[in-house]
């Protein structure tokens, strides 16, 4: 009950007009930042840090503002994923898989509201998890050494095959391409640059966000240019069906299980430093698909395929605050920025934060609850407004998308080289779409491959090259078993199911990327 008492104190701190105002501003800004391609939660928070300094905010209000932006961005990322097939940030990537097909079927309103509700469920329960489970969960994080992380990422990678409902070879090619892209940059374990061709801009590797915006947003623009004058371009033919603004009760019932599973998986992924929100939404989606996709509707606009990853990535955002507050270790890119902020405000993150700065911690947790309700209240009525985006004719929308992409990427890094990389990825994305190669596995290859390699090599360094270290703990054995079951089983089962699925695909022609 201690926690509840402290939480009540936290609400006393958070419930001032100033803090409520900051939370509201943060939620609004966050939603917009999340929705804009090129701006994700981590750079959204980073961009606002100077504002915090300028306003001279003390620690608690500053954190309230920044975490509202963080949560808001996690909500906002889904909007462009669903409406435009352009993920607003990395964790929203999985939402494109079913969200965009739903919008194409005239269910944009349902997709947005169901994902809004899933986001709420995910972050609401994750925040409760933060209140009650933080100290225990920290112990879970300590079970994961490099070998266990390697097994975890391999598990995630193994289930990738399940994502591609049509052509496994093309999905494998895409994932391999992603792995290749992940190799670019200075190798941390030897300090040697790889595939950089003496180009200093490539030393830090390819930024995920640049790759995502290029491949999804710009390639969409290129496709539009190619088809200009015809009605095939994105957004349909002017007679867009917007769908309902509230989801039917039956859909809520259908997706409630997905939300629950997504929340749990996402939260656990968030708690592990070095896993993060992208892994949370990915695991939530692929698990849901494995479990529930009996009729092959996933990837063609199944509401459960929207609910699971959205609950997952928002729960992961809450989960990532556990190691940040309890250990002082960032669980994601955004929490790394928040940590830097804490240091600058003269607060030492670490195991003693809960004891030394309870006002900060509990004020923050209370603010998270407030921000969550605000976001739900903001997002559901605004669904009707968001869907109207689809009514903007592509000839106005697409130049807008191009402009936002360029401004967003340049605004964050200030580098014209990144713009060139983004254009290169745009062209690549356009070519790959022509070849019918899914784009999502490429990004996942980049995200997961990088972590897989790092952790494998860390484990190898520690064990002096003894491969047995990878299966030395019960946890890693469990993870490996799951990976093998997730990888071998679909191949065996798929042999019988594949022809049927391929048939339906040919008829519907829905694009899973």
């Amino acid at each position: 009950m201690d926690s509840l008492q402290s939480l009540a104190d936290g609400f006393l701190i958070a419930l001032t007009w100033q803090n409520l105002g900051l939370a509201l501003i943060g939620c609004l800004l966050g939603t917009i930042i999340g929705a804009l391609p090129g701006l994700g939660p981590s750079n959204g928070v980073a961009i606002l840090i100077p504002l915090v300094f300028t306003l001279g905010l003390p620690a608690t209000p500053a954190l309230i503002l920044l975490t509202s932006v963080y949560y808001g961005a996690m909500y906002g990322g889904r909007i462009s994923s669903i409406l435009l097939n352009i993920p607003g940030d990395e964790p929203a990537l999985m939402t494109t898989l079913d969200g965009y097909p739903m919008a194409r079927k005239g269910q944009a309103g349902e997709a947005l509201s169901i994902s809004g509700i899933s986001s709420f469920v995910g972050s609401f329960f994750a925040t409760w998890g933060l209140v009650f489970l933080a100290p225990q969960l920290v112990k879970v994080a300590l079970l994961f050494g490099p070998a266990e992380y390697f097994a975890l990422f391999t598990l995630a990678f193994a289930t990738l095959g399940g994502l591609a409902s049509r052509n496994q070879a093309k999905a494998a090619f895409a994932a391999a391409l992603g792995l290749g892209i992940a190799m670019i940059g200075v190798d941390g374990q030897t300090g040697v640059p790889r595939f950089t061709f003496g180009e200093v801009h490539l030393y830090d590797g390819i930024d995920f966000l640049v790759a995502i915006v290029g491949m999804f947003a710009l390639s969409e623009v290129f496709t539009f240019l190619e088809h200009r004058g015809t009605t095939q371009a994105t957004g349909g033919d002017g007679t867009v069906k917007l769908g309902r603004i509230t989801p039917p009760v039956s859909m809520l019932k259908q997706t409630s299980g997905s939300m629950a599973r997504g929340t749990i998986l996402g939260f656990l992924a968030g708690v592990l430093p070095g896993a993060g929100a992208s892994l949370g939404s990915f695991i939530a989606y692929s698990f849901e698909k494995r479990l529930k996709d009996k009729e092959g509707t996933f990837g063609k606009g199944d509401p459960r395929g929207v609910a699971a990853p959205e609950a997952g990535n928002n729960a992961a955002a809450g989960g990532a605050l556990v190691p940040m507050l309890a250990l002082g270790v960032p669980g994601s890119g955004t929490t790394a920025v928040l940590l830097a902020m804490l240091l600058a405000l003269n607060i030492t993150p670490g195991p003693l934060l809960f004891q030394n700065n309870p006002d900060v911690v509990w004020g923050l947790v209370a603010a998270l609850f407030i921000a969550n309700f605000m976001l739900l209240a903001l997002n559901i009525p605004m669904v009707g407004f968001f869907v109207r985006l689809l009514m903007i004719p592509p000839r106005y929308l697409m130049p807008g998308v191009a402009m936002i992409s360029f401004v967003g990427i340049y605004g964050v890094s200030g580098s014209t080289f990144d713009l060139m990389v983004m254009i290169a990825f745009g062209v690549l994305g356009w070519v790959l779409r022509k070849l019918d190669i899914p784009l999502v596995p490429i990004i996942l290859g980049v995200l997961l491959g990088d972590q897989m390699e790092k952790n494998l090599r860390r484990a190898m360094t520690i064990s002096d090259g003894d491969v047995m270290t990878l299966v030395a703990s019960p946890l890693s054995i469990a993870l490996w078993t799951m990976a093998i079951v997730g990888f071998i089983l679909p191949m065996l089962v798929g042999r019988y199911l594949r022809p049927k699925i391929a048939d339906t695909d040919a008829v519907e022609g829905a694009d899973p990327d």
Binding site: L143, F144, P146, D187, T190, H201, D204, V337, P351
Partner: protein
Amino acid sequence: MKLLSVAKVTFLAAALSVTAYAPNAVAFEPSNTECIAPAGAGGGWDFTCRQVGKALQDLKLIPGTMQVTNLAGGGGGVAFAEVVNKRDAENDLIVAASSATSTRLAQGAYPGNDMSQVRWLASVGADYGIIAVARDSAINTLPELLEKIKADPTSVSVAGGSAVGGWDHLKVLIAAKKFGIDDVRSVKYVAFDGGGEAVTQLLAGSVQAFTGDASEAKGFVDSGDIKVIAVLAPERLEGDFASYPTAKEQGINVIGANWRGFYAPGNMSDEAYDFWVAQIGAVYDSAEWKATMASNGLAPLDLRGADFQAFVSDSVDSIAALSKEIGLIE
């Protein structure tokens, strides 16, 4: 009010020191000042720019506000090349730097660039290195740890937040070398993404020792989860770290300072150079900066102008020598 008067006094002191440093300072009138942070918003260089920029403005050492530009890429190499190639003669520009900058310059990680192409202004503090082990470790001193490594290098994995060849790695190697471990390449170093992840792995028991900066480890030191066996500072640090011995006290004379400071374009005029050295020095002397240093875990390191230039030059030389020895560069 007290703060204001302190600021006034510091301003006067600054004005005096300007005259002391450069009689011709009047010849340079700063306008539209800019600080380049060679990394994205939210990182260490970004904070250096913003905090010093804010102090310069609050103390009225520059007219108006200082614009902070983020120019990320190549571990600072993109910004370095930009300054050398395109903005070589600007007088209103300073760039944030740290020991990561000198390490990369020494290792040729900024292709085609070297430290003589820019003018080094001044340091604003240093984050001293520490070496730590887990709370329940049998090791209690730095010589014990190094003895164990010497006897069997495979028995100890050292985790740090920088890449191989980065500063966290080099600090351990310098200590190992001073201790008499001839083949420093045998020291097992595991690179993690940042000091926080590395400490977590120390707590998880995956590795036996941690090398990092004092500020990174502070939270865990306060909670007693890790045991600091050596601070790599010339003398004991103030505050929470005062009870931990330096490496020097233990007979291993290693100083590992992750300094923070600034450089300026190579063809900046002498007047402007003197101006910036004096103004950054005035920030360093101010009470406000002392408070900022304390809250950021920065320890004193006060080097200005020619002293700083010589310091960076020395560290580049010694890092280059060490990097050759471990085979990182040829």
